[in-house]
């Protein structure tokens, strides 16, 4: 007895909202990065769920791509965080507010 697709979608939406909430409320850049990962994985869950629903592999393959992308993004993100730390003595994203008009 397979689990119905709707549940997967609900799970994905929940994970996405948690990620979004994290981005909107947290101040630490590391948590930011984690929240972004959550949102990406929410999308992955969607891909896999729909692939299962339609019975083809496209979605699963795509989610592999997303993971590779996520890995790259984390590398860049960590790099940015390191620079942030060096320049602002901390990783609070609200501190680094000089890039504006």
């Amino acid at each position: 007895m397979a689990i119905v697709t709707e549940y997967y979608l609900l799970l994905s939406a929940a994970v996405f909202c948690i990620g979004l909430y994290g981005i909107l409320t947290r101040e630490s850049a590391l948590l930011f990065l984690m929240s972004v990962e959550l949102m990406l994985n929410a999308a992955n869950i969607n891909f896999v769920a729909f692939a299962f629903y339609w019975g083809n592999l496209t979605g699963q393959v795509f989610s592999l791509f997303t993971m590779a992308l996520a890995a790259a993004e984390v590398a860049v993100g960590i790099g940015i965080i390191l620079v942030l730390y060096r320049n602002f003595d901390g990783i609070d994203v609200t501190e680094a507010a000089t890039m504006r008009w």
Partner: protein, 700 residues
């Protein structure tokens, strides 16, 4: 095998190379760049001679040449214009190439004496200017289409600006150069509109049809215009009657001609242009620049013949200018000023001839004038060297014994200018007046009175010409020396005397190429220039280029309505006309002799009364043109500026300040805090989703 025609572009290219060489390497040369100019113009002269021989048929059958050499704008699609650079060589071109390269060679040689020996500085710039001037005039002469002619026409104007303003550290020359440039530019403005109009109407600017293997490959605009008038072709005439439209086009182009050839009312730049070095004046007046205008009318004469109105205007302007300028020359005190006004007057004669259908006479006068006016200017240059650059004739006198070569050659030129038999000017001026007279009697409709009026003015100018010319000669060379420099003038060298001798002989003899009265009397066919422009009776180049005299004569009769009539019979009319003009010229000379011929002449200008002031001020031409500029153009420009600053710029500034203001408010949302951006994005996405939900997906 490469014939002469393959080398025609080199005629202009050689002086151009000389321009580059003088400009960049002139300062390393012993003569500061003169060598390059002399070699290049000598080369041009040689190729011109070769070309002329080829055209004449001495090195083979008589031919002409008309080819496009380079396409610089290729039209794509139907009715698109293709702009070419090309070469047209027919007898007119060949003759003019000869004149220009000869005069410019002599001027280069003369410059050695006038500029180098006088220790002038900046000579590479001078010789570079001369080279470019010569190159652009030669390029103008062999242009095969109107646009190319216009481009070189402008180059000529630019070079005259550079050379007139050569002594730019003084006050006079830069202002004279600016004036020359602006006044001719004013005329060229109309010329440009005319060029655009001709291209828009005919789709081509060719002067003569291009032929390939005996059939016409591309028609020329005078021929198309002719076909339109005969109803064989049609062009877009912008709602005008074809003939009216062609008249308008012709008059627009004439604007450029009036500016360059210094015809009334655009003549004011030429006397001021005397501020330039004298060899440059010689070049400007004799061969380049001023000749360009008249040459252009002769070049597209087939087009002007289609419009009697334009012809009448040309004749009237020419006749009036001849008299007008001659009357101003009478009171001038400076040697070069007298010559300047004589130039304006003589070009008036050429315009008179062209306007009255005297094509040969105009070309003849252009030729003889080039020789004798170059001679007179170079002679004046020699006198100026001797007088340590004092040009006032009242400080001269008695130079006859001290500088015999200059005197005799100058006298030859003066006799030619005054039109005394048998010097060059007599034959050509006589032919100009004769053509005006017989066409004045014979032509139909309104042309006849106009021609006769123009003839009368031209005839009266003959007297003035004789007078001012010999006033100049007597004041300069005869009588007692009136200043210390005149008592002990500086000697001149071979490089001054050589060109003078060549031109002095030329001024005495060049009239022999078309002695119409003698030919008429003796029945001998010695009117060589006439035959030169006429070409073979059947076939040959006239049939190919349609620039032959035969063709023009047919057009004159059929389209322009110019006919000849001889009130006394052909030969007597010719002789009487010649006699009248000769006796007027001699009369002028004798009056000059009686007034200024004594050992100690005094000014007689006071006897003119109020006229003297008017003449001294050149009929207030400068004043009224300055008034036009300051009283009309400046307020107009100021009003336009106000409109531009207030309305046009106001709108633009208003728009930009509105966006500046909104921008300054909107940028507040860019706080620099990442969280805010994320919140904004989320909110916008939600909003977008809500919109989609409300409108049910895709909004059409």
């Amino acid at each position: 095998m490469a014939g002469a025609y393959d080398f025609v572009p080199a005629i202009a290219a050689l002086p151009f190379v000389a321009f580059l060489v003088s400009l960049f390497f002139g300062r390393y040369m012993p003569k500061r760049g003169a060598e390059a100019g002399i070699i290049a113009t000598a080369g041009s002269l040689l190729i011109s001679v070769w070309t002329a021989l080829t055209v004449a048929g001495i090195t083979g059958p008589a031919t002409s040449y008309n080819e496009n050499l380079y396409t610089w704008v290729a039209g794509v699609g139907d009715g698109a214009l293709t702009l070419n650079l090309g070469v047209l060589v027919d007898p007119l071109t060949a003759l003019m190439l000869l004149i220009v390269s000869l005069i410019s060679l002599l001027v280069h040689v003369f410059s050695l004496g006038y500029m180098n020996d006088e220790g002038e500085t900046g000579l590479p710039r001078y010789y570079a200017g001369l080279g470019l001037f010569t190159a652009s005039m030669l390029g103008f002469v062999f242009s095969n289409n109107l646009l190319m002619a216009f481009m070189f026409f402008e180059l000529v104007g630019l070079c005259s600006y550079l050379l007139i303003g050569f002594w730019f550290r003084d006050d006079g020359p830069p202002s004279a150069a600016k004036k020359a440039f602006l006044v001719t530019r004013f005329g060229d403005y109309f010329f440009l509109i005319g060029v655009v109009g001709i291209f828009a109407t005919f789709g081509t600017g060719l002067f003569a049809p291009l032929t390939e293997g005996g059939s016409v490959a591309a028609e020329s605009f005078p021929v198309v215009a002719e076909q339109v008038l005969e109803g064989e072709a049609s062009v877009d005439t912008f709602g005008f009657d074809p003939q009216t439209w062609f008249t308008i086009l012709g008059l627009l182009v004439l604007g450029g001609v009036l500016g360059k050839s210094a015809q009334f009312p655009l003549h004011t730049w030429l006397p001021d242009a005397m501020e330039g070095p004298t060899p440059v004046s010689a070049l400007i007046h004799a061969a380049t620049m001023v000749a360009a205008g008249v040459y252009l009318v002769a070049r597209m004469y087939g087009f002007y013949l289609l419009s009697p109105t334009a012809l009448a205007i040309i004749a009237l302007v020419g006749g009036f200018t001849a008299l007008f300028a001659a009357s101003m020359g009478v009171v001038k005190q400076e040697l070069k000023q007298v010559l300047a006004y004589s130039t304006i007057s003589q070009y008036g004669y050429m315009m008179l001839a062209l306007g009255t259908g005297g094509y040969v006479a105009a070309v003849f006068h252009l030729t003889t004038h080039a020789i004798f006016k170059a001679l007179l200017f170079l002679g004046a240059g020699s006198v100026i060297i001797a007088m340590h650059h004092n040009e006032n004739m009242w400080d001269m006198g008695g130079l006859k014994e001290k500088m015999p070569i200059t005197y005799w050659t100058f006298l030859s030129g003066s006799l030619a200018l005054a039109g005394i038999v048998p010097f060059a000017g007599f034959w050509s001026k006589d032919e100009v007046l004769y053509e005006a007279l017989i066409h004045g009697f014979g032509s139909a409709g309104g042309l006849a009175p106009v021609y006769l009026l123009a003839y009368a003015m031209g005839l009266l100018a003959v007297f003035f010409t004789g007078f001012y010319t010999f006033r100049m000669v007597y004041l300069t060379f005869h009588g007692d020396a009136r200043s210390d420099t005149a008592r002990d003038p500086e000697p001149v060298r071979w490089n001054v005397k050589g060109p003078l001798a060549v031109l002095g002989i030329g001024a005495a003899t060049v009239g022999l190429i078309n002695m119409k009265p003698v030919a008429e009397l003796t029945g001998a066919h010695i009117d060589f220039l006439h035959k030169w422009l006429l070409g073979p009776e059947e076939g040959g180049w006239p049939a190919l280029t349609s620039t032959g005299l035969h063709h023009y004569e047919v057009l004159m009769k059929d389209v322009a309505g110019i006919q000849s009539a001889y009130p006394l019979g052909e030969t007597p009319t010719l002789l009487v006309s010649a006699l009248v003009s000769l006796s007027l010229a001699v009369g002028g000379v004798l009056v000059a002799r009686s007034l200024y011929g004594g050992p100690d002449p005094v000014e007689h200008t006071d006897r003119l009364g109020g006229m003297k002031t008017v003449l001294m001020h050149n009929y207030y031409q400068d004043e009224y043109q300055v008034w036009l500029a300051q009283g009309v153009t400046v307020p107009l420009a100021r009003a336009a500026d106000k409109f531009d600053q207030g309305v046009v710029d106001g709108v633009v500034n208003g728009i930009s300040s509105v966006s500046l203001f909104t921008g300054s408010r909107f940028r507040r949302i860019q706080s620099g805090i990442v969280t805010n951006y994320a919140a904004l994005m989320t909110l916008s996405l939600v909003l977008l989703l809500v919109v989609f939900v409300v409108f049910g997906g895709v909004v059409n």
